[in-house]
């Protein structure tokens, strides 16, 4: 793959604030095209990573490359290829919706005013209303319309639906996925909700305690992982690399394993794992992955 086929490449990226490291050793290579979900609990470093991607922050260590360009050398050309929707979709509250569009037109090299107006008209958002008087869902839609009117190659969204009610959330995702379907744009969005990801995303990055704990194509990840259920075993398996997680009930042990570890002993059954369970298992793991050699499956 050449560099430009990656929407985002980070190499050893870390970000330290005064209170400590928010992100460490983050190395990613995310393909262009499709939808990438960045998942992690609150405080995992998602916002920090996204701000590094759009150039709002500079990394303390490592490099961030977006669409083949170093992001800290932000020129009008590179800036105009990336759209960003910050958490809580900030707008100039005293601007009218029309003035927000004028802001977008004034501050961008390309800005599809007609596209933005059509989207807002479809949603019934009046152009003469002040942004601050719109509902949360409408504000999110205006912010999305602004970001999409840039016709970006990469659209980055920070917790886009976290503050929206279920109906507004549904409408927002519908508009977003409609834009993806029209083609050309890579979407990177963060979420602390794992639910529904499978339906919308192609690629997954799991972030926990400032470190990337899992990254990959979702179909591949699901194919690589298996749940193994067998009789209860007392061995401590949590440290084994191939064993992502071991859960013991009274009579059974359930193992989540990676890399096609096949049950070698009778009495063990393999099952596919749901994406949500997979993500949760990785989030429950200690943040520092141990380097213990694979111990295989208990006999």
């Amino acid at each position: 793959m050449t560099a430009t086929e990656f929407a985002l490449r980070t190499d050893g990226v870390g970000k330290r604030y005064r209170k400590g490291w928010a992100l460490r050793d983050c190395t990613l290579a995310l393909p262009a095209g499709g939808v990438i979900a960045l998942v992690g609990p609150n405080g995992a470093g998602k916002t920090t990573l996204l701000r590094l991607v759009v150039g709002l922050l500079a990394p303390s260590t490592g490099t961030v490359e977006v669409l083949g360009h170093d992001v800290t050398a932000s020129t009008p050309q590179t800036l105009s290829r990336v759209g960003f929707l910050a958490q809580d979709h900030p707008l100039y509250k005293r601007f009218t919706v029309a003035e927000m569009l004028r802001f977008g037109r004034a501050c961008n090299l390309r800005f599809d005013q007609g596209l933005a107006e059509r989207r807002l008209a479809q949603l019934g958002i009046p152009l003469d209303r002040r942004a601050g008087t719109l509902s949360g869902g409408q504000q999110a839609q205006v912010a999305l319309a602004l970001a999409l009117a840039k016709r970006p190659d990469l659209l980055v969204l920070d917790e886009p639906v976290a503050s929206l009610d279920p109906l507004a959330r549904h409408e927002f995702l519908q508009v977003l996925m409609g834009a993806v379907a029209e083609g050309g744009v890579t979407v990177l969005f963060s979420s602390h909700v794992v639910h529904e990801l499978e339906r919308v995303c192609d690629h997954l990055v799991v972030l926990n305690n400032g470190r990337v704990t899992l990254t990959g194509d979702i179909d591949t990840l699901l194919a690589e992982h298996r749940l193994l259920v067998g009789p209860r075993t007392a061995n401590d398996l949590d440290g084994a690399v191939a064993v992502v997680e071991a859960v013991h009930s009274d009579r059974h042990t359930t193992l989540l394993v990676r890399d096609g570890a096949i049950p070698a002993a009778p009495g063990w059954q393999a099952r596919p794992v749901a994406l949500e369970d997979l993500v949760l298992a990785y989030l429950r793991r200690p943040s520092e992955p141990s380097a213990v050699v694979t111990s295989g499956v208990p006999a």
Binding site: R51, V54, G55, L56, L57, A58, T72, S74, T75, P76, Q77, L79, S80, V82, G83, F84, A86, Q87, D88, P90, L91, Y92, K93, F95, E99, R102, F103, G104, A106, C107, N108, L109, A143, L146, K150
Partner: protein
Amino acid sequence: MTWLIWRQHAQVCVLGVLVGMFGIALLVLGTQAHDLFPGGPARCAGEAGINEACAASFRRLDEEYGYVENLLAGFYLVPVVIGAFLGAPLLARELEDGTWQLAWTQAVPRMRWLAAKLVALAGVTVTLTGMFTLVLTWFRQPFDAWEGRFQYDAFDLEGLVPVAYALFAFGIATAAGAILRRSLPAFGVAFGAFLATRMPVALLARPGYATPLTTMQPVPVGGAKDQAGHGTVPSFADWMIEHGYADATGQRLSWTEYDELEGAANQAGTNLNQFLHARGIQQFGVYHPADRFWTFQLIEAALFIAVAAVLIGVVVWRVRRRMI
């Protein structure tokens, strides 16, 4: 960018209108005050000792417009308010509303955004305070002719320093806004910093901008006890920093020593001046001559503008390093 800055900072118009109204009021009052001096206040001040009409004019000026002069003494804070008002929200409002993330992810690079905002808002600060100071300086001409321009109600309101105060407040408010991320506290910090700086500067630093001159002359036999008046050296327009008495060798007398001499004169029953004159007592004055006004204005303006420049430099550095 022009449209955006205009749209975001339209409240500047309110300041503009207020300054305009203030200017018109002062122009009306000032025209009346200037009309008291058909030959110009400066010439009249020189003749006040000999020309009774001029002396009467200055009395009327004091009676009829003295209250305006007193009122204006507090107006040295107006440029500070203007500067802080324009500087505080420059970054702080974007940071408190989260809109910095919107502004800096459009195609305008953040440094260009910052440069445009700084130039526009600092420019408005200079324009507004410059106009304000121009009208005020003109209004004060008759008062200055009589009282000199080194008094605190003249020096701090005229010439270059009000604009420098405004830029100082602008710089502090912008930097405080970048660090505190709140407009109102940033405004407060700028205002407080100016108040805390101004007194030490006016009282301690300003007299030291140049080496003061010293005059030494014998106590005149028949003269008034207080020699500071029109037509003398140092004159009313000079800035007297210190004055007192010295003995024949030029050794300065403490006020206790002077009181002893005064007591001795009373006991002896002689005229104080004759008594002092007979003992070779001299009067001294330490002062800055009136023509140092612009030098002092330049020095003080440079000090405040230098601080403003350093603070703006810190803001530019922080934004450039993407620390905010």
